[in-house]
Symmetry: D2
Subunit: 205 residues, 4 copies
């Protein structure tokens, strides 16, 4: 059953040394389409007042050859409360969608199809962020909804192009990204999320 | 600001050495009641076909004085698919509810008000379990819904009385709980969840 | 084999609701004594220049009934470099000693026999701290040795009395403990270790 | 200070898309050479009877484009107790050496210079393995020494060639690698280590 080999699993190699990297095609569970499609805007608004939504947060990083985080990517974008904030990649998990597929979909949407993200092997997030309409509950704020977000640090090795939704993408050292000056450019608890991420990878100053 | 002390924080002591342990009162965010209350059965059914729900799984354990898991508590109960299965404590996170409060609420509901659970200090779950209506997607099966469940191992030090929902509560050694015989008494991937929990705490045989 | 029970595992109860808490007796592996005993001061000095030593760091905390960290215990003590610093519990793992036993031994040594520490169920540390004689290598400094330290957050629910080695024990809120003012009272990277611990449990401001 | 960029950090790209991958050169702390060099065989033997040694275990895996582990690499080699066992990459951390450098050094030694390992961003191991001369203490056995080993799952994307120390390198699916048949080919607790690793990445059957 087990196959002896000293060579390379083809799918892994393709990912790492692509000639022509192809955009990631989200694997939507067939049941999803058959049963419901995805929610209408109106239905989503209603559900948002009644159920916590499942989200993912992905902090994109560059690593050196030993896995040390050397820079952090922060998008600049309009937040739900109307403010402009630096923020990591973030988004909702759809009905029928695996966590990993949601991560890949949002990373591609925000960083472009050539970013080559390496989603961690473990499903264990480094933290769980609880966003509430009331900013006092947890310090993480989303005026639209209660969202429970699984947070991951994701190395990217390819070429990142911020999406049209984002105004900018900046790469900073961990020191810069967790500085007071940059914290002032973040709202809704995004600065704290970034500090937790940098602590997890051992580079919080 | 910091206060010098060699004595004991009162709230911690009260929890650990209670004279008359009082049932845990879930802290419901005030906004919850004001805005929506909790969902009607009908609305919940509708949402279940359109959005992933947020769940928690809590594996109750007994530990020795060094923190080593010596036994695991498994409820016996009716599962969503109609089968009877051994299973850990599990349940939905409500709108406006913190993860920790949902854990406490479900632990009290299933193990009684005297169980004295010690929810971990870190919000980081040991794994994330993705339940799908299609049992093939992840191996974790819930015919009613797509649920994303944050899984924790929770030591309990008090007296556990299974709730009326559960038919029984058994304490087993990690070896027994992960044996083939007991796995046959679990459905929907609960046996696998248990193995992941025992692996995390280092006692998977 | 599995035993049905709704009552309480005796050893767990004894730990949680002790009449007369007894000091923890380190379980020294018999082989240790038979073969070598523990190292002479001179031999240890020699080894320190040639091998990384195994250490544990334990950040003692008070938690509320939901597991939220509400205060952090910091010892005040003389550091290896001669400075006085606030610091968590820390110490060497002996030959033949389990990690958990080393944690219990150092917690009892530094906080007294009535502290009732609850060592986490998982052997997974929240981080690994690498101390080097050269302060530039990792930012964690120990002039005596290269030490690799497994770091844990440990709730204590009993009465803490700082040992004779420590000059003081202070309990602070996470905000105070991670403030700039308190950071100035820590040397060798202990302030950073504390920030990583508070980030792991989700209460880093 | 922060630099706006949509392009690629050079050092990360080089790692991921190498023209001519160069062997990893361990970064030995200068202090190491100046002060002691590395230990003589005789001194190491003495220390092994008196101090726990610091080790790393690295389970090499192939992942798909979403980070799911699809195969596991197991070396076949002579174990300290004279048995032949399948085993992951493993080895000692030297005086003055960073954990990451030890991981890179042993991965290159056992899998060759073209394996392109991606050491995780976090220093947090998925478990800590305690090897003892007495096989009864923890179930992890090393007749030579007491070793405390930090265990990581490490995706490799390049071409793996087992070193001369290893008799073979096999890639297996997680199901095969954790099967009873393959467990019979592992000694000293290596089969259990593998199950813990597969549980951590969510693919333990």
């Amino acid at each position: 059953m087990a196959h002896t080999t000293s060579d390379t699993a083809p799918e892994a190699l393709t990912t790492a040394i692509p000639d022509r990297p192809t955009p990631y095609r989200g694997r939507v569970n067939e049941m999803t389409d058959a049963r419901t499609g995805w929610m209408s805007r109106e239905d989503l608004e209603q559900a948002r007042e009644r159920l916590p939504l499942v989200y993912v947060d992905a902090v994109p990083v560059r690593v050196d050859e030993r896995g040390v985080v050397v820079s952090v990517g922060l998008l600049l974008r309009a937040m739900p409360d109307g403010s402009i904030s630096r923020a990591p990649v973030s988004g909702r998990v759809m009905y029928g969608e695996r966590i990993r597929d949601a991560l890949m979909r949002h990373l591609e949407k925000d960083l472009g199809p050539m970013a080559l993200p390496r989603v961690p092997t473990t499903p264990q997030p480094f933290t769980v962020v609880e966003y509430f309409p009331d900013p006092e509950v947890s310090g993480f704020h989303d005026p639209r909804q209660h969202a429970v977000s699984l947070a991951y640090v994701v190395p990217v090795s390819g070429d990142c192009v911020p999406s049209t939704d984002a105004l900018d993408l900046q790469w900073m050292t961990p020191e810069e990204a967790t500085s007071d000056a940059v914290a002032l450019e973040m709202t809704g608890g995004q600065d704290r999320l970034l500090r937790l991420a940098m602590a997890h990878v051992g580079v919080l100053p």
